[in-house]
């Protein structure tokens, strides 16, 4: 077949020979032909830098390099970096610079080239060198710190027995992330796997008929359509609303919806021109905005959802109408936010194969048990006939809670009996998977003469797109949270999830709360100013405290918002003074300061969401933690082990982690709703305590005894007394453990009534952020100089990982505020859809506050979503302080900021 000579080159210092087409992407050749899967493919367009390799010492995107160019050249991938780069790997681990790890190879390779030219770079040099590698997790801060700190340091990474909780230890699963060994969705290819591609709708709404599919395919290509699906061709994350076909059957409700899959040998499938697939489309008028979809004459996307309303949520307390009528100060505002793309650097990918009668799917995911159950449903299998092995997830942020390719590769493998694999293109990932809900919101708030909040009403339409996904969660969560962490005695909030023919809006870090906070926190600036109060003081005055009741009537304890706001008091005054000084002498740009709060209930909203942790010791003295919570970079593998270690009383170094894997780990639920540290952490605490009790009982020693795990035995010491438990003499259980514990924890909540009164969450987390910005008064550009972020974690399990969460959340909040807008059909790539680069990030100062929660493990609260919520409103409030521009349509792109500056100038 090949009519070109082999390409001879050096790869990682060794000679290699490639039998590849000359024009093939070098990234493909390295991964597929040489098995060097450390080189990641994020966009195939040079927009993300994940595939960076050194070509004769110079960093290039392997995806943009024809294989022939490597002929006679020296290629270095992450697997082959030496010297400086090895020290860089250590620095990345030490600084927590790798979270999910998908960008890490590109970062390391690029940074190694820079360090060879500039061994002691300054910050600006690092930012410029790494400007072409996108990271969606870290906010770049720790990456830049690591690159500036590569001198060898010998540290004992593992904390001692009893000192795990609170230790700033590097992530336990970090080594594979920095040396290229980590296996992400696209990195495992079973022998003989068929390559799978999907045929997707180019229309937002259309009916279609398939033509001569068999004739088009020929004998080497399998084609499967809706007619081939053996089970119920419907999936969805919330059982009552399941509505999304795995393969559309006769009509599509959104662009990017799959109507068929093709599978076969890779070279055959790659060569197919999918635009020639025999399908006759009959496009229909599409509804893309919620106002269009709610209009009385609008077509209905789904039967039984009149007005295209999927569901509404409501919270009502007191008499807001009367309270607003009599308020001393009253303000009203509106806000509109855009579709926001998760933009993880790893497009959805995975593989499927049969193990006996069991269908095994290894793919990137945040929710293995949900994947198992939903995939089984679509494929007509029992749940125990499907095994889900989560690969490393190269970022998720909510979107990888939903099924994507699982039913597609599952169908191919089930039908053919052969292994299969699939990796979404960037365009496919962006057009077919979920987004943050666009919102159109209005609100009015009132305060009395002393500045105390008396009432608030809020109403919002959330564009939930073509299918339900997590729309119900957003509609229910928003009214609960739209008050912010403040005492408001009279309150009425409603939110609706409205279907359109836009992309499916699902879960994205915060489930609608970030959108609501954008309106509520900018509105509260209006109110503070109307009342003549300092904006921070107004928030402190109204902040919830211990024993206060929320708008749902839930009484709270361990409330840390006051502490967070107090922590900002000094920086606030200093920043205000600095801005005033700057503005006195500058006209081209103006500086401003803004503040915003957040609160966020951890776990499902008044619904069960248990986690189960199993812990066992084998006869030969191995301690295994079955940890089923997917670690998508946030650090669950590390944090849950830290909690378990101190609960049990053995050092981290003794632990072997098992899972996640639906065949090996009990259900720890989904990685969402900031629940893993709290819920799975609590299960780990209980399991650790239970196993400890079992050991102490067997040793017949007191609760303060010290454990140590030695070869084949546990040594228990209590003062002068020592007991030895000979493990080999004990009988193993069905799981192979001689001593074990399995504990389940489900947060206690109280169902909400028709007015949203109840106790929807067992634990809340709190935070407040202050933004310092500089606005160009003629160009409308905004530079965020600093974010000071005070977050109440209850108990800080791991300060290093906590800071990483904050910095990453700030980056996503900054993107939401200033640049991110997904326009279906127009921004399906990472050069038209912009996320922050190294050069866009402000300094982030994290202030970790510990106001213990009565329910959380060691007092801990969730953090993952909280960190994103205050950033955008704090930036918007700072822009207004600087320039007078009140932005009500996001993102605050330069042309919008400039228009708002001019509008403010005309109004004043």
């Amino acid at each position: 077949m090949k009519d070109t000579p082999a390409i001879a080159l050096m790869v990682n210092g060794k000679p290699a020979s490639l039998d590849a087409a000359p024009g093939r992407r070098l990234s493909e050749v390295l991964r597929e032909d040489l098995g060097l899967t450390g080189t990641k493919v994020g966009c195939d367009a040079g927009d993300c830098g994940a595939c960076t390799v050194l070509l004769n010492g110079a960093p290039v995107c392997a995806c943009l390099t024809p294989a022939i160019r490597a002929g006679g050249a020296d290629v270095v991938t992450v697997e082959g970096v030496r010297d400086i780069a090895e020290r860089l790997q250590d620095a990345f681990l030490r600084h927590g610079a790798a979270q999910c790890g998908i960008c890490t190879p590109g970062m390391l390779v690029t940074a190694s080239a820079m360090l060879r030219e500039t061994p002691r770079p300054n910050r600006a040099q690092v930012e410029e060198a790494l400007g072409g590698v996108l990271c969606r997790c870290t906010g770049y801060a720790k990456i830049i710190e690591a690159v500036m700190d590569v001198d060898p340091v010998s540290i004992d990474a593992n904390p001692a027995n009893g000192g795990a909780v609170g230790a700033a230890m590097p992530r336990l699963d970090g080594a594979a992330k920095v040396d290229g060994r980590e296996i992400f969705g696209a990195d495992y290819v079973p022998d003989g796997a068929l390559l799978v591609r999907a045929i997707r709708s180019p229309h937002f709404a259309a009916r279609f008929q398939l033509g001569d599919v068999a004739g088009w395919a020929g004998d080497r290509v399998h084609v499967f359509t809706a007619a081939d699906i053996p089970g119920a061709n419907r999936f969805g994350t919330i059982p009552a609303f399941v509505d999304q076909p795995a393969l559309a059957d006769g009509f599509v409700r959104m662009r990017g919806e799959a109507i068929a899959v093709v599978a076969g040998p890779a070279d055959v499938i790659e060569a197919l021109d999918l635009s020639t697939f025999p399908v006759n489309w009959e496009p229909e008028a599409e509804l893309l905005r919620t106002d269009q979809a709610r209009a009385s004459e609008a077509a209905q996307l789904h039967a039984g959802r009149p007005g295209n309303i999927l569901i509404g949520g409501k919270v009502l307390c007191g008499d807001p109408k009367t309270a607003l009528d009599t308020a001393a100060y009253r303000v009203t505002a509106r806000a509109e936010t855009a579709y926001v793309e998760h933009a993880y650097i790893e497009p959805e990918a995975g593989a499927a194969w049969m193990e006996g009668d069991t269908l095994v799917i290894q793919a990137c995911t945040q929710a293995p048990v949900m994947d198992r159950d939903e995939t089984a449903q679509v494929l007509g299998l029992a749940p125990d006939q499907v095994r889900i092995i989560p690969s490393a997830a190269g970022g998720g942020f909510g979107s990888k809670l939903d099924l994507s390719l699982q039913p597609l590769i599952g169908l191919v493998t089930l039908k053919t009996g052969l292994p299969s694999r699939m990796a979404y293109s960037r365009r496919e990932s962006m057009s077919s998977t979920t987004k943050r809900h666009p919102s159109t919101m209005q609100a009015t708030a009132g305060a009395d003469a002393d500045g105390y909040l008396t009432a608030m009403v809020f109403d919002g339409d959330f564009n939930t797109g073509a299918y339900s996904s997590w729309g119900p969660t957003v509609a229910v969560r928003v009214p609960v949270h739209a008050s912010g962490p403040y005492k408001i005695p009279n309150y009425h909030a409603e939110a609706r999830a409205v279907h359109t023919n836009g992309p499916v809006s699902g879960a994205f870090r915060g489930f609608g709360v970030p959108q609501a906070a954008i309106l509520q926190e900018t509105l509260f600036d209006d109110l503070a100013m109307a009342a003549g109060l300092d904006r921070l003081a107004f928030r402190r005055l109204n902040a919830l405290g211990d024993g206060d009741r929320t708008v749902c009537g839930q009484q709270l304890f361990g409330v840390g918002i006051g502490d967070c706001l107090d922590a900002l008091a000094e920086p606030w005054q200093a920043a205000l003074a600095a801005a005033k000084g700057f503005n006195a002498t500058n006209t081209q740009t103006k500086r401003g300061v803004g503040v915003a709060s957040c609160w966020y209930g951890c776990g499902n909203t008044a619904l069960p969401n248990p986690s189960t942790i199993r812990l066992g010791i084998t006869a030969d003295g191995h301690l295994r933690l079955h940890q089923g919570a997917t670690d998508i970079g946030q650090g669950a593998n590390t944090v849950i082990t830290q909690i378990c270690a101190d609960a049990l009383g053995l050092p981290i170094a003794d632990f072997d982690l098992v899972g996640p894997d639906t065949a090996l780990t009990p259900d720890c639920g989904k990685t969402s709703a900031s629940r893993q540290t709290f819920v799975t952490g609590k299960a780990a605490l209980l399991a650790g305590q239970a196993l400890r009790t079992r050991i102490l009982t067997r040793a017949n020693l007191g609760p303060d005894a010290v454990l140590s795990l030695e070869a084949g035995q546990i040594v228990v010491t209590d003062g002068a007394q020592t007991a030895h438990i000979d493990l080999s003499s004990l009988e193993p259980d069905t799981n192979g453990y001689v001593l074990s514990a399995e504990e389940t924890y489900d947060p206690p909540t109280v169902e909400m009534d028709e007015n949203g009164q109840g106790s929807p969450y067992a634990v809340y987390g709190y935070g407040a952020q202050m933004a310092e910005v500089e606005v160009d008064m003629t160009l409308g550009t905004v530079k965020v100089h600093k974010i000071t972020a005070a977050h109440d974690l209850g108990r800080v399990i791991n300060p290093l990982l906590s800071e990483g969460q904050i910095e990453g959340g700030v980056a996503q909040g900054l993107g939401l505020a200033l640049m991110e807008e997904y326009i279906p059909g127009r921004t399906e790539n990472l050069h038209d859809y912009l996320i922050p680069t190294t050069g866009d990030m402000p300094e982030v100062q994290s202030i970790l506050i510990e106001k213990p929660d009565p329910e959380g493990p060691f007092g801990a609260k969730g953090l993952g979503e909280h960190v994103l919520i205050p950033t955008a409103p704090a930036i918007l409030n700072a822009i207004r302080h600087a320039s007078g521009a009140r932005i009500d349509t996001l993102p605050a792109l330069p042309h919008r900021v400039l228009a708002a500056i001019r509008a403010a100038g005309e109004a004043s």
Binding site: M1, K2, D3, T4, A21, P22, G23, R24, R25, E28, D44, A45, G46, D47, G49, T52, L55, A58, P59, V60, C61, C63, L64, T65, P66, I68, T110, E127, E128, A129, G131, G132, V133, L134, E270, S425, R427, T778, L779, G780, L818, M819, E821, I823, R826, T827, N829, H831, D832, L834, P836, T837, T838, G839, D840, L893, P894, H895, L898, A899
Partner: protein, 280 residues
């Protein structure tokens, strides 16, 4: 498998080009993003093995930027201050990775309205050398790029060099790019400016604006008005309407047309103010 040609001399390349339509490949930083395929769609004529087409050479008539010169090559070349704007633009093209692969000439051939290379090269009075098996012709850059994704390249022709006349090597220069983020960004608007200052007055001005019209443009009217102007007055001399008249911006995802005009005017003023500051 589609044909993939990678000759090592120009004559062979031109002969191949004369025979059949082929896609010319140099840095590939625009070719690969245009396809989701795992390999370039053929037939492809890969120019990168041809000797003598890479690098910047100073001759008696000016500078010759070989067609395979990458942005990184350009940055590493010792050039007079008139080229500063081109080097500044080079560092704004995509990322380090892109600059190591992408070529200056390819940026022109791709003919994007937002091509970072076009405004500084216009302000350097660049000309484009085209060769085919039949011969060679030279076009001013303004005539080479004819529209959005359109050039004057005829079948059988390729760009072999960008030529900068010796006279354009005079003066000081500056490039400013405005985007919605710091790196890896497509411009909302950009300006390149070159001034020759004589006795504290403007002796020659070359100013161009990109991303505000289908093809980047020189602001001839503004340039003429600046001639003889005192250095301290250059920024204030710029007439907003005069700048706007030269532009035909569009609304797109990055910004609206009115904003682009406002931004272009401001960038022109700031570019001139920077240069005035540097010269005084």
């Amino acid at each position: 498998m589609p044909a993939y040609f990678r000759p090592d001399n120009l004559n062979e390349a031109l002969a191949l080009l004369a025979e059949e339509p082929v896609t010319l490949a140099a840095g590939c930083t625009d070719l690969f993003p245009a396809t989701e395929a795992k390999a370039l769609n053929g037939p492809v004529l890969d120019l990168t093995a041809i000797d003598g087409l890479r690098g910047v050479v100073r001759g008696s008539e000016g500078w010759r930027i070989g067609t395979l010169t990458t942005w990184s090559d350009l940055c590493k070349t010792d050039l007079p201050a008139a080229f500063d704007m081109l080097k500044q633009a080079a560092r704004e093209v995509g990322s380090w990775q892109i600059q190591n692969a992408g070529t200056v000439a390819g940026n022109l051939c791709n003919a994007s309205p937002a091509a970072d290379g076009v405004p500084p090269l216009l302000a350097l009075d660049a000309r484009v050398e085209l060769q085919s098996a039949k011969g060679t012709r030279v076009l001013p850059l303004g005539s080479f790029v004819t529209g959005v994704r359109k050039t004057a390249l005829q079948p059988g022709e390729m760009v072999t060099a960008i030529l900068i006349p010796a006279a354009a090597g005079a003066g000081i220069s500056r490039f400013r790019k405005l985007g919605a983020r710091r790196y890896l960004v497509i411009s909302i608007a950009m300006v390149a400016g070159r001034l020759v200052v004589e006795d504290g007055k403007i002796g020659e001005a070359a100013i161009s604006v990109g991303s505000c019209s289908p093809v980047a443009v020189r602001l001839r009217e503004v340039e003429n008005q600046l001639l003889g102007c005192r250095l301290a007055d250059v920024a204030a001399t710029v007439d907003a309407d005069m700048v706007a008249r030269a532009l035909s911006p569009i609304d797109d995802v990055r910004g609206d047309a009115a904003y682009r005009t406002t931004a272009a005017v401001e960038l022109v003023r700031r570019t001139l103010a920077d240069l005035a500051g540097e010269a005084s």
